[in-house]
């Protein structure tokens, strides 16, 4: 039996799963319907994260391995960055955007991931 998700997408799945099982996902994002793409440049491929009114889905995008491919993906918001910047939190990401080490098309993804990661 193959696992449904592994590694980085599974890490992110855990964060959302924990919010869902405790009923917090619905509370934090009651009406949110969004498709976000996150690419950790040192751990490709990218992943599609869908949040839909208290539920969520994560899917690896096997063909999206480089940040230049992100403009071709159908989504509401995307971001590509190295893992250490994601770990480093908002300040490090903002610095990375200023230094052009982070590719982002709008800040919605940052806001949503920030909320997800800040839950205890």
């Amino acid at each position: 039996m193959c696992p449904m998700l592994e590694d980085i997408p599974a890490f992110l799945y855990i964060l959302l799963w924990e919010l869902k099982i405790y009923g917090k996902l619905e509370k934090i994002f009651p009406d949110l319907q969004i498709k976000m793409v996150l690419l950790l440049t040192d751990f490709p491929p990218a992943m599609l994260i869908q949040i839909d009114k208290g539920d969520f889905k994560i899917e690896p995008l096997e063909d999206i391995k480089d940040s230049k491919d992100l403009d071709n993906v159908e989504c509401d918001t995307y971001m590509a960055l190295p893992i250490e910047m994601l770990y480093g939190g908002a300040d490090k990401i903002l610095q990375g955007i200023a230094d052009k080490k982070v590719k982002i098309n709008n800040y919605k993804i940052l806001e949503i991931l920030g909320k997800i990661m800040s839950v205890r």
Binding site: M1, P3, M4, L5, E6, D7, A10, F11, Y13, I14, W17, E18, I21, Y22, G23, K24, D42, I83, V119, R120
Partner: protein, 381 residues
């Protein structure tokens, strides 16, 4: 006189008789959280409002929010009244390394750690094997010294969690890091450990010394700066029938570092509990010699608990309630009777903190509630 959880635990670890037998829970995995939250005992909106306000952590595998749910109603109005006195949390191992010889993640100890989501939708993460299989891998890992250094921030977070749990929920959080055996063997593997121990002991010593100096000692020092009452470190020495390595190698390579762990904890005024799975009878006399205050896990099928109680009264026995079969398959009534017997056998002279022998996995929630209720019911002196 009714004691606080901290007084109760410290009294037992000092070899004295507390007001009642305290209880312990190591934590739980995602499957248990799923079972629990789908049971009639699940955290309610009202519980979570209080727990969120108090900033209690929900994260696996330490599940402090679920442990707090077992509180009496004067602490949590919808509490299960099956109080847990002692739980656990570790720090360390959080660094993720990239080394040239593999595309996979490597953790602080040099092992692979897999995170996955099963078809059922329930996630799981666990150690899956050693990454440092050759000497050149180990040397490449040594070159990552800077990235292996512990992060001070995680220790200050740990301290906040410990104080909150004690102050608001009367639950003691024992805190610690991984032990020297796990750190070494998770990285290089048992086969390499055995090979180096025989053929290149200086190299093995150098690797163990590297891990001690690079992250174990600095981590313990950072932990002790936060003044924990109880340090609890995990280091699984046992298989089902004996040690994973020859006892002479355990004494030569591991025991001196474990002694450092115990001494740092004691010098900082804390008690030291060791979590170690499997049959560990061969090293129990060494635990006494090192001054270890409590040993946790102690699956009854693998350990002669009555003998430990009789022969090593200096050491508090923590855990001992079989989590791999009884707590999964038996009925709440069976569990109640078994806890009664355990307390009768092991707890009448103190020195006993019962709880599941390991992390809760696929256990029915009602069995775990039955376990902690039984400790309350039969844990009176």
């Amino acid at each position: 006189m009714k004691m606080s959880a901290l007084e109760r635990i410290l009294t037992v670890l000092e070899g004295k008789i507390p007001d009642r037998v305290p209880s312990f829970c190591l934590g739980g995995d995602f499957q248990f959280v799923d079972n629990f939250m789908k049971s009639s005992f699940a955290l309610t909106e009202e519980d979570m409002t209080q727990l969120d306000r108090d900033k209690v952590a929900y994260k696996q595998p330490f599940i402090h929010a679920i442990i707090a749910k077992f509180s009496p109603p004067d602490i949590l109005p919808n509490g299960l009244d099956a109080k847990i006195d002692l739980c656990w949390q570790t720090v360390g191992g959080a660094s993720i390394l990239k080394l040239d010889f593999t595309d996979n993640f490597i953790t602080q100890n040099g092992g692979y750690f897999k995170v996955l989501v099963r078809d059922s939708g329930i996630p799981h993460f666990w150690y899956t094997g050693p990454a440092l299989l050759k000497k050149e891998h180990i040397k490449a890992y040594w070159n990552k010294e800077k990235e292996l250094k512990p992060n001070k921030t995680s220790f200050s977070q740990l301290s906040k969690i410990r104080r909150t749990m004690l102050k608001k929920y009367d639950i003691v959080v024992a805190q610690g890091i991984s032990g020297p055996f796990e750190n070494c063997v998770f990285g290089i593997g048992l086969a390499n450990f055995a090979r180096f121990a025989r053929k290149d002991p200086a190299f093995l010593q150098e690797h163990i010394g590297f891990q001690w100096e690079t992250f174990e000692k600095p981590s313990l020092n950072m932990l002790m700066e936060r003044k924990p009452d109880i340090v609890m470190c995990g280091d699984d020495y046992g298989f089902n029938s004996g040690l994973q390595i020859n006892v002479k190698y355990w004494r030569k390579f591991i025991k001196p570092i474990l002694a450092n762990y115990v001494n740092i904890a004691h010098d900082g005024g804390a008690k030291f509990i060791l979590h170690s799975c499997g049959d560990i009878h061969e090293v129990f006399p060494d635990f006494v010699e090192l001054g270890i205050d409590g040993v946790e896990s102690l699956k009854p099928k693998n350990n002669d608990l009555a003998m430990y109680r009789e022969k090593y009264p200096e050491i508090t026995l923590v855990g001992t309630i079989d989590d791999s079969e009884m707590l999964i398959y038996e009925s709440p009534e069976f569990i109640r009777n078994s806890v009664k017997e355990s307390i009768k056998l092991l707890g009448k002279k103190g020195g006993f903190i019962p709880g599941p022998t390991n992390f809760l996995l696929d256990h029915p929630a009602e069995n775990i509630v039955a376990l902690f209720k039984a400790i309350q019911e039969f844990g009176k002196y």
